[in-house]
């Protein structure tokens, strides 16, 4: 894992001291809230419905066990004993007090963490595939380049006041597990004719009020020119992005209104002017940063696990093996998804004790490494197959052994109106009811791969547009009302879901979902045809009828 150099350490220390002083001035009444708000937001501190919320960056979703232990400590000492993992691979604390924030930031700095770039119109925390550095299908570990991009983008003087926030996601392989086509910039690893790894660059994707699938702006940019090329995109956006209208300020609108060809030309011109300059990335630097992410010393083992046999012996363990493992590039190892979606729980929440249990497991079984997924789960990236049983038993003990990764109860859910000041409806209770309704393992298995994603307002932090089934909470005449969309997909087969008709009252949502599921099961060609494939084949009609009848 990357370790701070002197510059990083000094920078985070100074920022903590600076914000501590700003908090003191605010508490002493020397500055008012209008002056303080932008300062606190630059340090990840929001004011929500009930209290402050501190959003802490987890760069490219990678954590070491000492960092997760510190998050547990913060949860216990300054908050209410839990934290909430988000779709940006970050963690949020919902109950901190203003006077404790400087101490929290100092505690974070002691483990090389901070809350910078988790708010504001800057380049936000860069997200990656949660199996980066471990996945069998990976071309390259994207994290060294993600770290270089973090260093380039942190407090970038030219890009600290962009027209709007700016999000970059990276995937190191052909299978997009980071939703890169729904980010301002998406980077997908690609190999050129000479076998050299570079990046396919996508631009102008996004969710929110106006969902857009990104367009490919460049088929291949080598590492050497990546910083200059991204800087060129940012410059074009900074110059032409609309600052007159908040709802039209994201780069997706610029790309949409200007056209990708014109944007590509503008970027190319900018690139010509700055290419081969100071932003050229020497291979030696990529190698230097890459060394921090060197693969651990894997043992040469060839153990496998017979899932069918284990399932007969103990169904819950068998199910967990079946759902929560991901193929590892090293034979004899697997990546383990730790579901933060217990039946009826709040998606993405983990208690301090659970964080500590996971930190212990990472230390003992996963070379001290952990990942946060954009689907609000945790990952032990490198676990020996022969250790799986012990890991599972420890997860059972920590109440973290739900074997539902990628199933209907593994929903992305934003905090919604239970916490969020921008919400128009609650999200968590909807997820809980759906989770309870489909809690039976046999039922979940029968349904198979299905992604339900829930947002509590049009800002779409819960990615509802790209849920196979998406749920968007709105307010209609003072009552919560939920729009259901179908057919969204966040992978390389990107699509935005469609609304098929009117919304539903909260208590009607689980039944409506069940009608969609029953229709899918009745109409699928084989039990292996996933929901999204069946939807593509069948079209909207049967699902519309399931929701609204055939009138």
């Amino acid at each position: 894992m990357y370790r701070y150099d002197e510059f990083d350490a000094a920078f985070v220390r100074e920022r903590t001291a600076q914000f501590s002083d700003q908090v003191n001035r605010r508490l002493a009444g020397e500055i008012n809230e209008d002056q303080f708000r932008p300062l606190r937001l630059m340090n990840g501190l929001y004011l929500q419905l009930h209290a402050y919320m501190l959003r802490i960056a987890v760069p490219y979703g990678t954590l070491a066990s000492r960092q997760l232990r510190m998050l547990a400590h913060i949860a216990r000492k300054y908050d209410r004993g839990y934290g909430h993992f988000t779709t940006r691979q970050n963690i949020q604390f919902n109950w901190p007090k203003l006077r404790d924030i400087p101490e929290i930031l100092a505690d974070l700095a002691s483990v090389e963490m901070h809350a910078i770039q988790t708010s504001g119109n800057c380049i936000r925390n860069i997200t990656t595939d949660q199996f980066a550095g471990a996945a069998a299908d990976e071309i390259v570990d994207p994290r060294p380049v993600a770290e270089i991009l973090r260093q380039w983008s942190s407090l970038h003087p030219e890009f600290s006041y962009l027209p709007r926030k700016f999000k970059i996601a990276m995937s190191g392989g052909p299978h997009d597990r980071a939703a890169i086509r729904f980010h301002d910039i998406g980077l997908q690893a690609k190999v050129d004719d000479r076998g050299i790894v570079g990046w396919e660059v996508w631009v102008g994707g996004g969710l929110g009020r106006t969902p857009m699938i990104a367009k490919r702006i460049n088929e291949y940019v080598p590492n050497e020119h990546l910083l200059a090329y991204l800087e060129s995109i940012l410059r074009v956006y900074n110059r032409y992005g609309r600052r007159d209208n908040k709802y039209k300020a994201r780069i997706k609108i610029l790309v949409h209104e200007t056209g990708i060809d014109k944007i590509r030309d503008e970027v190319a011109e900018e690139f010509r002017a700055i290419a081969n300059g100071v932003l050229t990335l020497p291979q030696a630097e990529v190698d230097r940063i890459g060394a921090y992410f060197a693969a651990p010393e894997f043992e040469r083992v060839n153990a496998t696990v017979d899932v069918a046999k284990e399932r007969i012996a103990e169904p819950a363990y068998g199910e967990w093996l079946d759902r929560n493992l991901h193929p590892h590039r090293q034979p004899g190892y697997a990546s383990v998804t730790i579901s933060l979606k217990p039946i009826g729980g709040a998606p993405g929440d983990a208690t301090a004790e659970q964080m500590e249990a996971v930190a212990d497991l990472a230390e003992r079984y996963s070379f001290d490494e952990l990942r946060v997924t954009h689907e609000q789960n945790l990952v032990l990236p490198h676990v020996r197959v022969s250790d799986l049983r012990e890991v599972y038993d420890a997860l059972v003990e920590a109440r973290l052994a739900t074997g539902n990764a990628g199933l209907i109860t593994d929903m992305i859910t934003c905090p919604g109106m239970d916490f969020c000041a921008l919400a128009t409806a609650r999200s968590i209770p909807i997820a809980q009811e759906i989770s309870r309704k489909f809690s039976a393992p046999e039922r979940q298995k029968e349904i198979g791969d299905l992604k339900i994603k829930i947002s509590g307002c049009i800002n779409a932090c819960g990615h509802h547009h790209v849920g196979h089934i998406g749920i968007l909470g709105l307010e209609k005449k003072g009552v919560e009302n939920y729009q259901i969309t179908i057919g969204g997909n966040a992978t390389e087969d990107a699509s935005v879901g469609d609304t098929l008709g009117h919304g539903f009252a909260a208590e009607e949502v689980p039944d409506a979902i069940e009608r969609l599921i029953d229709t899918y099961i009745a109409r699928r060609e084989t039990p292996d045809e996933p929901f999204i494939a069946a939807f593509k084949r069948l079209g909207e009609a049967p699902f519309k009828e399931a929701l609204y009848g055939n009138g």
């Binding site: 508490l27 004011l47 009930h50 209290a51 203003l98 109106m417 609650r426």
Partner: protein, 101 residues
């Protein structure tokens, strides 16, 4: 009918202006402003702003039902009681969190 609500600076806790000019946790102690009391209401807002201690100051529409104050918006009902799922107690004021106008 309206009430004034906001979040106290130190704790971020949801608070309401009561009849005595104190910012308190209990929605049921909130001062209810009638339609014809906009001047008093606006004076209270101005005085509150001067304290620098109440953030996200808002005017909220309410209804009186069986003598109880019921905010019109769901959001406000959730703010008054704390999150519904998972159920958490609302944030409380610290000892030095008292604000009055």
């Amino acid at each position: 009918m309206e009430i004034l609500t906001g979040n106290e600076l130190m704790s971020g806790a949801t608070v309401y202006l009561d009849r005595d000019g104190n910012w308190v946790e209990d929605l049921q102690r909130a001062r209810v402003f009638l339609k014809e009391e906009t001047e008093v209401r606006d004076a209270a807002i101005a005085a509150t702003k001067k304290t620098l201690r109440i953030n996200s100051l808002e005017i909220e529409a309410v209804t009186l039902r069986d003598g109880l104050i019921l905010p019109d918006r769901i959001r406000e009902r959730i703010r008054a009681d704390g999150p519904t799922a998972p159920r958490f107690d609302r944030q409380h004021l610290d000892r030095d969190g008292h604000v009055s106008i």
